[in-house]
């Protein structure tokens, strides 16, 4: 290749090319040079890359033990025809974000099944994990390995069974997490706890829940690879925004939130 005659491609052309690459290639190409590293790590680049959606790739995430989750390309065949092996052997092992240490240390800590996270959902490349032991809710982007633990919310009546939802509000670029713990005995009206990532606060609102069974929590989910980092937290939002959020939740039909 004769590279002597051609001047270096300007950064905006490089950006156009990189925007059209899948996440896996981009993570590898962070090593090309310092300018490529900063270009690919830029949060705005992550958003443009997600919005352009030139090469969306989906992966299946499975919890394997306390420390790792397995991730496989959703488009790859499950059985390798030539080798006759299960593609699970080619799964990528990703280190799970750690839970907070147990509040009451106990002897059987490492054997405790509750130390394994439940996968509550996925949205825009983020996985919502729940560690039962410490009531830890953790938002995690397995593609780029960033995570954030959400602040604990205060229950009135402690219950391990809850309905949950996890979604993105494009009008505010905010991620919302809804948890509705089931009261015992069953009542139609329950308190919904809604967490807004942007304001980093929990809000509560009474909602009618037309279900008596929260269903099963998952140990497996699909997610779309993304470079998205967590949006900046704006802590001092006005009371107005909280009220707006609560109105929105009241107005939304639960069947839509949890479908």
């Amino acid at each position: 290749m004769n590279n002597q005659t051609l001047p270096l491609l300007p950064v905006e052309v490089i950006r156009e090319i990189l925007l059209r690459l899948p996440v896996k290639s981009l993570l590898r190409f962070k090593c090309v040079s310092k300018s490529w590293l900063s270009l690919i790590s830029d949060p705005q680049f992550g958003i443009s890359h997600y919005d352009l959606a030139a090469t969306p790739t989906h992966r299946i995430l499975m919890r394997s033990n306390d420390f790792y989750a397995q991730s496989i390309d959703a488009n790859a065949p499950f059985i390798d025809r030539e080798e006759g092996t299960l593609c699970l052997l080619r799964a990528v092992h990703l280190l799970l974000p750690p839970p907070s240490p147990p509040r009451i240390p106990d002897f059987f800590h490492f054997d405790d099944f509750r130390n394994q996270p439940l996968i509550l959902g996925s949205c825009r490349g983020f996985i919502l994990l729940y560690y039962e032991r410490g009531d830890d809710l953790i938002l995690w982007n397995p593609s780029i390995g960033v995570h954030k633990q959400l602040p604990h919310f205060q229950y009135d009546n402690i219950t391990r069974e809850f309905l949950y939802g996890f979604g993105h509000d494009p009008s505010k670029d905010d991620y919302l997490i809804t948890i509705i713990p089931f009261s015992c005995p069953f009542s139609a009206e329950n308190e919904a706890h809604v967490f807004s990532l942007k304001t980093a606060t929990w809000n509560s609102v009474l909602v009618n829940v037309p279900y008596s069974d929260p269903g099963n929590c998952l140990t497996c989910a699909t997610y779309r690879e993304s470079l998205l980092s967590l949006p900046t937290v704006i802590r001092n939002t006005s009371e107005d925004e909280h009220q707006q959020l609560i109105r929105k939740i009241r107005a939304a039909k639960l069947t839509r939130i949890y479908s």
């Binding site: 290749m1 004769n2 590279n3 005659t5 051609l6 270096l8 491609l9 300007p10 905006e12 052309v13 490089i14 156009e16 090319i17 990189l18 925007l19 059209r20 690459l21 899948p22 896996k24 290639s25 993570l27 590898r28 190409f29 962070k30 090593c31 090309v32 040079s33 310092k34 490529w36 590293l37 030139a54 090469t55 991730s71 990528v92 092992h93 990703l94 780029i144 390995g145």
Partner: protein, 166 residues
């Protein structure tokens, strides 16, 4: 006289405009190697950088637009792609150097379709390639220390699996 005269004037004006637009159907592009290429005005419409210049200046019969960053070889390749309606097969026949240069010119002349097409073709080409291949392809000098690079590779180890041979 009054009304009829105005009507007459309007007809003449329209005629003059039509003739002018007929006359300016070609634009002369002067490439970096001094070649003048005459192109249709419709071709220039896609070159938004030139189009913006033409909109800003009064069009007359002799529009000459210098392209000091574009060689005649690359410009004729671009014309081929445009007349072939951006056929993928034509793109596949381009050399790596041509592809990079056309992508750069597409960005410089703000040709959206051509930029998308060539940027996608390059992305496709490097997608499964190694870091070393990409550095060579874009003529990029590695400015990481060996320690920094090892550390970066460790962060996303899985991204280095299943890469094509260079």
């Amino acid at each position: 006289m009054g009304e009829r005269g105005e009507e007459w004037e309007a007809v003449m004006l329209r005629k003059a405009e039509e003739e002018e637009s007929k006359a300016v159907k070609k634009v002369k592009l002067v490439t970096s190697d001094g070649v003048t290429m005459e192109v249709e005005i419709s071709t220039v419409k896609e070159m938004e950088t030139i189009q913006a210049f033409m909109n800003a200046t009064d069009t007359d019969n002799s529009i000459i637009f210098p392209l000091p960053k574009v060689s005649s070889h690359i410009l004729s390749r671009i014309m081929e792609l445009m007349s072939g309606e951006y056929d993928q097969e034509l793109v596949k026949r381009l050399s790596h150097e041509e592809l990079k240069e056309i992508c750069m010119v597409a960005n410089y002349l703000n040709m959206k379709t051509l930029l998308h097409l060539t940027a996608s073709a390059i992305a496709n080409l490097i997608q499964n390639k190694s870091v070393e291949f990409v550095r060579h392809f874009f003529n990029i000098i590695n400015d990481f220390t060996p320690e920094e690079e090892v550390q970066l590779r460790k962060t996303h180890e899985w991204a280095f699996e299943g890469v094509d041979e260079d």
